[in-house]
Symmetry: D2
Subunit: 117 residues, 4 copies
């Protein structure tokens, strides 16, 4: 699946915003609705964890839910990263000059942070 | 949850509850207030992520915040696991019999799930 | 190491060695042959990586092989950890006293290091 | 550090090979000597692990060494990935067409595999 259309979600962005990757409109812009939906689901998982702790649920069952939340966060990060590579990094490559080096170094550092958690 | 005990200090559980690791009182019982505080902070981080996406913050800055949230979740999981080993697993060892094998296998599987995310 | 015992089967250690978890005989003692077999397989994977780099294999294919080696190392670590919990940590719990706290803290720190890589 | 010169290591590649990212000469080509050095060091760590198991070293000390080896593998993977993004992915962006989408998807899947181990 390499299309940049949001998965199963209509977005309200006007078509003319596409292709503008300036300061305020980043690679993930078109998937905004999908990203917010994912994050609200994760927020619900974290509230679920609070209920579990409050109701003295068995430790191992809480750990299973923590793993699910962590996985959901990593999956969100990967989607964001994919859009970043496709838009911001690819744009820097097309522009030419030194910017591509800085962008790739920055992206690699972000990936390193994601791997270390 | 209305308790105001500071994290890491003894909480006002009656002494007779200690040592009872039955259905409703698990290893993490005494740290309940601290756990809930941590989870509410993580919930705040997730809401912060929603604001960042909504305000079109730069992708890499969002990824940095995702890594911080994942790290906080992992740190919560590690504390829960430590308490589980100290109470549930150690209790099973003291009791003797086959239960220790089941408890250790269960804990190892939970650790494997945490490592894979 | 010349033993040929199949992995996971009882090895020819004298019975009197069992239960002695002193300096030289740790929890993983009985699985020694299996552990060495796993580690030699991982060593072979690392040599395979050197061949791949030397033969200019495509970066992504090398990354796939790195992930396989990392997974094999993590899986080895998890088995070692399971045996450590079952033997060293459980023994400390049975002995009573403060040792269990130290053992659990030490194991949790090792798990934290494994999760951060 | 964004220069593509190998860190502290003279490489024997003729200068005219630079810029040729065809089938047999990938992004990591210039760092070949450095990569092989890293991998040989990791191979040495794995052999060190075999010695530790053979000499019945304490489980936790073995786990610490496993974490160091995993970290070294991840660090090697990150360097390879950075070079891949800088060369193969950036080249696809410059070429234009659909290839950039395929390259970014492929790289993201490799990163996902690295994160899950």
């Amino acid at each position: 699946m390499t299309t940049t259309e949001p998965a199963g979600l209509p977005v309200a962005e006007p078509v003319e915003a596409h292709g503008d990757h300036g300061h305020a409109v980043h690679g993930y812009h078109d998937q905004k609705a999908e990203h917010l939906k994912r994050l609200r689901r994760i927020e619900g998982q974290i509230r679920g964890l609070q209920r579990m702790v409050d109701e003295d649920v068995y430790c191992i069952d809480i750990l299973t839910q923590v793993s699910a939340s962590t996985k959901a966060l990593q999956s969100f990060a990967l989607q964001l990263l994919e859009e970043h590579l496709r838009h911001c990094v690819a744009d820097a490559a097309v522009k030419g000059g030194d910017e591509i080096d800085a962008k790739v170094e920055e992206a690699t550092k972000a990936i390193a942070r994601m791997m270390r958690t």
